[in-house]
């Protein structure tokens, strides 16, 4: 043993105690069970994604962990501090960016940050230097004296993230940080989050954008109807569905009953039309591919795109939550479009 007593405890706290520990966390709204006895840990320094459709329980979970909402049952610890029993210590560790940018519209960007510093009881000199530093980092320093009500949605989002970073938190909670923003703001925010994470900040990110989770997160928890369906790294989650491979093809010209014909190929379990392309779901891509070539030759068609595609995080999500299959069974379109919305931005 190289360390003992206080030093040992300190070392343990730095290495072993997770950034967030959630134990049996439950939330009821009357009869509705919004979050159903969930358990998970977030390691220090990781970007942890909380992925799920709208109404799955993501925001409710984040509100319970951060102390905004009181759980019906269970507990949450932030950096080792119980949010209900040691709320002051736990809240000192965290910065929060809620789904809605809750900035003070009547105040300037500068005053928003300085007021946040006062809420954390930061001394005047320190909170002002920190506010200036953050406004420069987020490209808002030149407009620091303007009231936030005149800012664009993306700028308000940046003010909101800057406010969450005022107290030099150890963990940042981001609830749908890029939802509804233009592409430039989305890319800026993602880059900032990555940089902050590289500097040691733990990030808890909720999103319904599968590609965002895939690109940014070290680990992902998939939540559906208040329950955790899976937790792992994006790549390991994809590997659990190795049987779900596919061949993507496109013909130069179409043909009547094309989908019906493709479904009859040996080893093809299903066909999904994606724009002018067809995705043949199969556990044997070479056989499906051979069938496609033969079919094109016999029918005088020309194949212009041929790709073999491994399972995506979207496939994992669809398989675990059953959103697309449920919709197809019900003949409804709503859930299909929701599943596609969740996969938006996906690169093939």
């Amino acid at each position: 043993m190289f360390f003992s007593g206080g030093m040992g405890l300190l070392l343990r706290s730095m290495t072993e105690i997770p950034a967030v520990e959630v134990l049996n966390l439950t939330k009821n709204y009357g009869e509705l069970l919004a979050v159903d006895h969930i358990n998970f840990d977030i390691k220090r320094g990781e970007i942890f994604g909380f992925l799920g459709p709208n109404g799955a329980g993501k925001t409710t979970t984040i509100r319970m962990i951060t102390g905004i909402s009181i759980p019906t049952q269970g507990s949450a610890r932030v950096m080792g501090y119980d949010i209900q029993r040691q709320p002051i210590e736990a809240k000192e560790q965290m910065g929060i960016v809620p789904e809605i940018s809750n900035v003070y519209n009547e105040l300037s960007a500068w005053d928003n940050l300085v007021f946040t510093g006062r809420l954390y009881d930061m001394p005047k000199g320190y909170r002002e230097s920190r506010a200036g530093e953050l406004l420069k980092m987020f490209g808002l320093y030149e407009r620091r004296s303007e009231k936030v009500e005149g800012f664009s949605r993306g700028m308000k989002r940046r003010v909101c993230i800057a406010m969450a970073l005022m107290n030099k938190s150890s963990i940042l909670f981001l609830d749908e940080p890029t939802s509804g923003l233009d592409v430039e703001s989305v890319l800026t925010i993602r880059e900032l989050v990555r940089e902050l994470n590289q500097e040691g900040l733990t990030v808890f990110l909720t999103t319904h954008n599968i590609e965002e989770a895939n690109q940014m997160c070290d680990r992902v928890a998939i939540i559906n109807r208040g329950r955790i369906a899976a937790i792992d790294t994006p790549e390991r989650l994809k590997r659990t569905l190795e049987s779900l491979q596919s061949v993507e093809i496109a013909f130069e010209k179409g043909k009547a009953n094309l989908i019906g014909d493709l479904k009859l190929f040996p080893t093809v379990n299903g066909v999904i039309k994606e724009g002018d392309k067809f995705r043949l779901l199969t556990d044997d891509p070479p056989t499906a591919l051979a069938s496609a070539w033969k079919y094109a030759e016999v029918n005088g068609l020309r194949l212009i795109t041929v790709n073999t595609v491994g399972p995506s995080l979207e496939d994992v999500f669809v398989r675990l939550t059953g959103i697309r299959s449920t919709a197809e069974e019900e003949g409804g379109k709503g859930k299909i479009s929701e599943a596609r919305e969740m996969g938006k931005g996906r690169e093939h």
Binding site: I68, P98, I100, V103, Y104, E106
Partner: protein, 254 residues
């Protein structure tokens, strides 16, 4: 990521409460509902009931002081809290490393300063133009201090009721505030009320504000200043406590 700035718990709570109060003062004092229900309403009520009566203005100054304290102090909470809850800015206080008591004390302080600031006007006008004499500065100071704090906490309590939206908070509050005017010795001296009226007056916080203001300005007092101070202090604690309970209920519901 160390933080070395944290000082003692109590002093921090006080500083954060003051930060919240100053932010609310800057942001909400000049909002139309604050001015309408906190300034215009008590003066309009006073004028509508005092013009044409045969009592001298100087004897009605305590009533005006009490009404401005009552309406101005209790109007800030219902303007601030529902709006902050709707815009989710109230969540900032719930996630800040500070107790709910400090947050509500900050909110109470904003109403307190507004109420005291507005009610100073009738005192100055009374002394300067209508011969009003301050016979007990201590009673008048206590009247303003305890009443403004208590009524501000009352406004916050109503604003924190579960299920309230910004547009509906003032309705239940006025449902309580306006009837209280009729049982608190505003329009009829308490000694002239029937026995049941005197019992009702005893339980109205506004009674004790008027009584203490009258005492401070050399008028009669039915219950005695000591009772006035005890009742106003008790109401202040009760309103604050119930306000906190309402917020905890909201956190359980949301």
């Amino acid at each position: 990521m160390g933080r070395s700035w944290h000082r003692t718990h109590l002093s921090r709570e006080v500083r954060v409460a003051w930060a919240i109060a100053t932010k609310d003062m800057r942001t909400y004092y000049v909002r139309p509902p604050s001015l309408m229900f906190g300034v215009l309403f008590p003066f309009a009520l006073f004028l509508s009931f005092s013009i044409g009566r045969n009592t001298p203005i100087s004897t009605q100054i305590p009533v005006l002081i009490a009404q401005t304290l009552f309406f101005a102090s209790s109007s800030i909470g219902p303007v601030v809290i529902p709006s902050e809850r709707a815009l989710r800015t109230f969540d900032r206080f719930l996630t800040a490393p500070v107790s709910l008591l400090a947050v509500l004390m900050g909110k109470t302080l904003a109403g307190f300063i507004f109420g005291v600031g507005i009610s100073v006007i009738p005192i100055v006008v009374g002394v300067a133009f209508f011969g009003t004499q301050i016979t007990s500065i201590a009673a008048l100071t206590l009247c303003m201090f305890l009443s403004a704090l208590g009524f501000s906490a009352m406004g916050i309590m109503f604003a924190s009721m579960p299920g309230q939206s910004p547009g509906t908070v003032l309705m239940p509050l006025n449902f309580v505030r306006i009837p209280l005017l009729f049982v608190s010795g505003v329009y009829m001296p308490i000694k002239d009320l029937p026995a049941w009226g005197q019992v009702a007056a005893m339980f109205s916080p506004l009674t004790h504000t008027i009584e203490l203001a009258r005492y401070g300005l050399g008028g009669g007092n039915f219950f005695g200043p000591f009772v006035n101070i005890i009742v106003l202090s008790a109401y202040m604690v009760v309103f604050l406590f119930v306000g906190i309970r309402f917020h905890i209920m909201n956190q359980r519901r949301e």
